[in-house]
Symmetry: C4
Subunit: 244 residues, 4 copies
């Protein structure tokens, strides 16, 4: 009879699991995540300060809904531990938990709610397109790592160089190498905010050199990705031809 | 006899249709569209205010010409409804109609004239090159959609992050997440106007990270396009070889 | 006897032609062109104003040398007309002629000397690498033309849009569509000087959309070029394999 | 017996060489290089001025360690000259030597310590990924050289052009061609700091043209790299298929 009860419970769990993992439930949750993200964004807008109480109620609504979902997911998970300590399980907990904190000083943790948006990946994970791109990136991950190291090295050298040229003239903007690194990042990514730029002739010539190398560095990931994606497509093509 | 008249009308319609769809008529219309776009642009220039009456006459001339063309196109269309509710039929109407409005408050609708330029696509539609590019984009449309979602997600996360770092220091520029999103767009596209940029050390380190990921994100569409265009060209090549 | 003289003259012409077309003469001329370009650049520098007379002498030296070269090239050209009306013949003339003008008002034409640098192409013309790139560009010239038309159209639409959003707030920067086009160019190429940028919420949202499409547009030439260069390389590969 | 001693010494040298060339020693040195780079960066930070003596001690520590390593490397090198005059041998010396200089005026040479970071390449040299990229770059080195020449030519022509348009209006920013070259570099790399930008209508139209060509130029290295990397990957693919 105990077995029977377990069986009944297990049946309910099974049915609920099917619902939770189904497209309809998933779609509703996706919509709620987007809605909570929009609410989170608007809440920070000063012009909406007068609706503070409304936002408070909306926040509590989302808290209740997502807590219910979290409990449901634990209940329906075949192995509870696996869910709780999975990436999405932790994101879920981090996104709910801080709302519980009533100690004023820790209210700041509520900003962790924004983490919830990561769960969008759960949906996109099943989109074939993302998988293909991740596969492509995976194939060149050693090249990408080498590129990151080279870029870091180049930022360091560019910062040392500009520090040498500009520290005498611009005490504030290039007064230390960490300051110069900010310039290096802004220049090499070609953002160029305009808050820091070289003013000495030497610094300008050095920047010309750095900028040209930077443009070359930026070309590398694009070229790498093109090569690996092309290979994947040509492979598909060839295997299709072989089948014929 | 009635049949005869219809036949005669149909003949005229047929002849006119051939003229309207012909290269000469199409070329003239293309030229008029460009001319009206140039007139529209110059009209807004303050230094041409003294020629206001001239522009007024030119506008009326274009209005008469394009209205005549619109009526002609309806008349010559084999199925009138198909033309009126087609994309170009609606663009044509939206570009003429507002000029008719005499009520002063609605004169602002006349800016819709700029829509006329969309009709350039009618000509380019037949250029093989554009077709090939659209085909290529069509093949990676799921990847592009995934990329747009990922970018939107990244803009959201970058805005949340910089809001956390900078709101204390720069109340005006980073006072809310929508404000921070403006920064995220300007930074991730590497435009970097310089109206908003981080000032705290934390914000700068965060920006360095965001900028590097941003440069990587920008590399993806270029790589995707390269792969799909290369595949198309290699396919052509192989099929040419097979024919030999 | 007259024939003999002609033969002798022809011999000298032939020998001179061999010298003029040879690698040594060509190398010296290349060096002189670079030197005259450097002199032209430095001459404009205010801090070198005290060396004005030196620059004057250098200019005259270059004038004499390049005039001598021009006469020599005409003399040694198998068909004189062909050289005089060739691209490099005209560049040569335009680069020398203005120096002769003694009328003060026309001295400004001397800036045409900078055209001389185009002759560097004469050397690079024979570099295989440039030829290969020009071949590749030639193969996609219709796509590139379509891209230029699309970009121009997009600049027009972006300018019309931002003019609608910003003209009320920023009378000076967005007061007319030509002004707005300047913004559109600076934004779509991701330069972002920071002299003009949207300030209204509507303008910022519109810019976000424009910037994202702009980043996509920039990805197209890179992808096109990659595809056509890859095809050229794979073709080479295949033909090499066939030979084996 | 002398032979024996030499044999013994040689044995020790051999053993030490194995240790020096081993993964553990190499890892420790890599870590020390990174640590010394971080120390070098932080030392310039004004807020750490109070820890000056600590940094002094740390510097001496690194000096002793790297000097010991340098002596060890010379001792264990099979052919001493080869190491001393190798790239890494010279970098090692340049990074240590200046610390010895006690004459105050030459203390500035101590900045050469930053060169030490180049030794990171020693480790990455063995990473296959970098080798593959260098191979790819080597195959298009003639195209890249042609591209550098074309870019330099374009910077020159852009600078001459903007100088012509803007020198009358902006005496300070475009007062000479070298000044205009700074603008050309900042614009063509799409950095756009915003310190210099055209203000005349002619200058703006010229900039629009220059910027569009600049965006095209930037697309070339990415396309080149994609083509050569793709070829390498397709080759691998084909040779794998042949083996089957």
């Amino acid at each position: 009879m105990l077995n029977d009860v377990n069986g009944g419970q297990s049946d309910i769990r099974k049915k609920l699991e099917n619902i939770v993992e189904g497209a309809v439930f998933s779609g509703i949750i996706q919509f709620l995540i987007l809605a909570s993200a929009v609410a989170f964004v608007l809440e920070t807008e000063e012009s909406f300060d007068k609706y503070e109480t409304h936002f408070h109620i909306i926040d509590w609504g989302f808290f209740v809904l997502f807590t219910a979902e979290y409990i449901l997911r634990i209940y329906t998970a075949p192995v509870k531990k696996d869910f709780i300590f999975s990436f999405f399980g932790i994101v879920d907990l981090l996104a709910i938990l801080p709302s519980l904190v009533l100690i004023p000083g820790f209210r700041v943790l509520r900003v962790l709610r924004f983490l919830r948006v990561f769960r969008i990946f759960k949906a996109t994970r099943f989109i074939l397109a993302v998988d293909r791109m991740i596969d492509a990136l995976g194939e060149v991950k050693r090249e990408l790592l080498a590129l990151v190291i080279l870029s870091a090295l180049f930022v360091y050298l560019a910062a040392c160089g500009i520090y040498f040229f500009e520290r005498g003239t611009q005490e504030e903007a290039f007064g230390s190498i960490p300051d110069a690194m900010w310039w290096a990042i802004v220049t090499l990514t070609t953002i160029g905010y305009g808050d820091v730029y070289p003013m000495t002739t030497g610094g300008k010539i050095f920047t010309a050199f750095v900028a040209l190398v930077g443009v070359g560095l930026i070309a590398i990931p694009s070229g790498l990705l093109a090569s690996v994606l092309t290979k994947a497509r040509v492979e598909e093509e060839l295997s299709e031809e072989d089948e014929k």
